[in-house]
């Protein structure tokens, strides 16, 4: 009977293809929404793990979180480097990690920080060693793949967070390590020390006067640019972009953010609160899109219903002939049910494949999507739920036509047809 159902579907292939396309469209939209929203949520959750508070320049708290935790937006500004000392002295702070942002290499953001940053995301070295001196850097797994950087290779950072700024070629970086993939934002970053970022911008580190040496000095003794950087007396004060804070205890969540926001020129933003706010903004749009997608899938099911109902009428003779040939009522009406089921199943499969295809295309066309972890390779159990729901729709759409065939009076049909 399945072969017969498929034969009927092939016999009116254009209508079948239209029905399948409608259902696939609905399934693809639903799956894309599901995958994007869950991948975003998971990525946000992973990237902000271990960070209770971000302290940065006044401005949009969401922007501060996006730029300092997820590395997808521009920072709100810089803050004085002594803010870090202030925070580290606070009894509510268990850990404070500084960030200095503002440059990139071939689109991969260069983040000035401390080796402890790696611990937040559980990053470990795949090869080489961690940055220890000025001008050394370790590269995240994705960043290494996309920029082509390898151990020992030198590169010059570019001003700005995109790829179009002017190059800082006075202190080139040298890659000392490549990180293992972590599935977090670290994968697409280039990590170096705060001093390296300052040196790249010609800013003297507070420790520089105390005799710190640069990688350039080690590699090229007496290099004019390195000395020029360290010796500048009129350089701007060394700033950082933000500080990632981990609370010492639960009381810190109550006391610290409000204290910082009220009593200093700094801004404290909670990644959990800002991410929840962002997802709730997304959520409303996602709900609307999800509703629309279900409407598309329902339209597909309605179309299947109309087609099968009309086929059931047009096929009365065939059905009667099948009964005469020995098919039972159940087998004959089962053929109609199977048609609905096959359309829904093919539509669901194509829709799911299209969803992953769309995500692959989207991630390659829009780097921001890839940057926040949206990609085609992840599967979600919800996809099976969508497929099951659409199969259910196919069966429901075929139920009435199948029941009509089941109830057909054989003698009456033969009386009309013969």
């Amino acid at each position: 009977m399945l072969r017969l159902a498929i034969a009927y579907l092939k016999d009116r292939w254009l209508v079948t293809a239209f029905n399948i396309a409608l259902i696939a469209l609905g399934v693809a939209s639903l799956a894309v929404l599901l995958l994007v929203s869950t991948q975003l949520e998971k990525r946000f959750e992973r990237d902000s793990q271990g960070i209770d508070l971000v302290v940065g320049a006044k401005g949009s708290p969401l922007q501060l979180i996006l730029s300092s935790v997820y590395h997808v937006d521009i920072p709100t500004g810089n803050i004085a480097s002594d803010s870090l000392d202030l925070l580290r002295r606070d009894p509510f702070v268990a850990r404070a990690i500084p960030l200095a942002l503002g440059d990139n290499f071939r689109g991969a953001r260069i983040v000035g920080t401390e080796p402890e940053f790696l611990a937040i995301h559980g990053a470990t070295l795949s090869e080489g060693s961690i940055f220890t001196t000025v001008g050394t850097a370790v590269v995240g797994a994705t960043a290494a793949r996309e920029t082509g950087l390898t151990i020992g290779q030198s590169f010059a950072g570019t001003h700005g967070l995109g790829g179009d700024g002017h190059a800082h070629d006075r202190v080139p970086f040298r890659v000392t390590g490549i990180l293992k993939p972590t599935g977090t934002v670290t994968d697409r970053l280039i990590l170096t020390s705060i001093d390296s970022v300052w040196a790249m911008h010609g800013i003297a580190s507070p420790d520089a006067a105390a005799g710190a040496t640069t990688e350039g000095d080690q590699d090229h003794a007496g290099h004019a640019h390195g000395e020029e950087v360290l010796d500048r007396r009129d350089a701007p004060s060394p700033d950082i972009t933000a500080v990632l804070v981990t609370y010492r205890n639960a009381m810190a969540a109550v006391r610290l953010p409000s204290a910082i926001n009220r009593q200093t020129a700094l801004q404290a933003a909670s990644p959990a609160a800002e991410t929840a706010r962002l997802l709730s903004l997304f959520g409303a749009a996602l709900d609307g899109a999800r509703l629309f997608s279900w409407l598309v899938a329902l339209t597909g099911a309605l179309s299947v219903f109309v087609v099968l109902l009309s086929a059931a009428s047009a096929r009365e003779g065939d059905m009667a002939l099948l009964r005469v040939m020995g098919a039972t009522r159940g087998q004959v009406s089962g053929t109609v049910l199977l048609e609905g089921l096959v359309i829904a199943a093919v539509g669901a499969l194509l829709g799911l494949a299209a969803a992953h295809g769309l995500l692959a295309v989207g991630a390659s066309l829009f780097p921001t999507l890839a940057a926040v972890g949206v990609g085609p390779r992840l599967f979600h159990p919800g996809e099976l739920a969508i497929a099951a729901a659409v199969l259910g729709l196919g069966v429901v759409a075929a139920l009435i036509p199948a029941a009509r065939v089941y109830r057909t009076d054989l003698a009456e049909t033969l009386g009309r047809a013969t």
Partner: protein, 240 residues
């Protein structure tokens, strides 16, 4: 004396048994493939058959000849178990037509092949797929149809869809489909009415030959008097 009496009775009993078994055997041979006794049928208050009798023996051919509305198709549908009579008895190869639809379907699958005037083949399947389906539904092997199709002159049309067949080809295809189950009783409803003389002659010949080859008993219902040339046993029906 006693011994002689005993011998006499023994011989007499043996003769009785032998005679009985011969009679029974003869009777079994004479059981008609299709028998209809005093069958009455009405539809929507209109009497279509009023006490109809018919007995067709194994290998026999009968022609139900009559105009439209004379009840020819009704007789075939009753014989096939597709309709239930108001009263009377119908039996296929000695088996009374069962009351339950399921049992009637089983009897039809096992013993009866039907050729309709318009319901010939399942539209979405090719000719050979139609034969495979018919074979599967009747529990017969669903292969080896080349000889049957060649015999009916349809060997080259095996993969054609019903809408691609000519009238004559479609009618021959319907015969092929009905014969796939190797039925004891082959019922044909207006098999030649839409055909020209040459095709009608060819189809009639094919029906008879096919029925003979497969050992089927043939009952044809038609208003086409041309078939009288081919089937001698004619039952004339009048319009109700």
């Amino acid at each position: 004396m006693l011994w002689r009496m005993r011998q006499f009775f023994t011989v007499a009993i043996w003769r009785f048994f032998l005679a009985s078994s011969e009679t029974l055997s003869h009777r079994r041979d004479m059981i008609p493939v299709l028998s209809m006794e005093n069958v009455r049928f009405a539809r929507q208050g209109r009497q279509i058959l009023g006490g109809f009798d018919l007995a067709v023996q194994q290998g026999g051919h009968s022609l139900l000849l009559g105009p439209s509305g004379s009840g020819k198709t009704t007789i075939l549908n009753l014989a096939a178990g597709l309709l239930t009579p108001e009263s009377g008895a119908i039996a296929i190869a000695g088996t009374p037509m069962p009351a339950s639809a399921k049992a009637r379907d089983a009897l039809r699958r096992a013993h009866i092949g039907i050729i309709f005037q318009t319901l010939r083949l399942v539209s979405a399947l090719t000719l050979v797929e139609n034969l495979e389906l018919a074979a599967r539904l009747s529990g017969k092997p669903a292969d080896g149809f080349a000889d049957l199709l060649n015999t009916l002159g349809l060997g080259h049309r095996a993969d054609a869809r019903p809408r691609e067949l000519s009238q004559g080809e479609a009618q021959r295809a319907a015969i092929a489909r009905a014969l796939v189950s190797k039925p004891k009783l082959l019922l044909a409803d207006e098999p030649t009415s839409a055909l020209d003389d040459a095709n009608a002659h060819a189809v009639a010949q094919l029906l008879l030959q096919s029925a003979q080859t497969h050992g089927s008993t043939l009952v044809v219902a038609t208003h086409d008097a041309r078939l009288k040339r081919h089937i001698g046993h004619v039952i004339a029906l009048k319009a109700a």
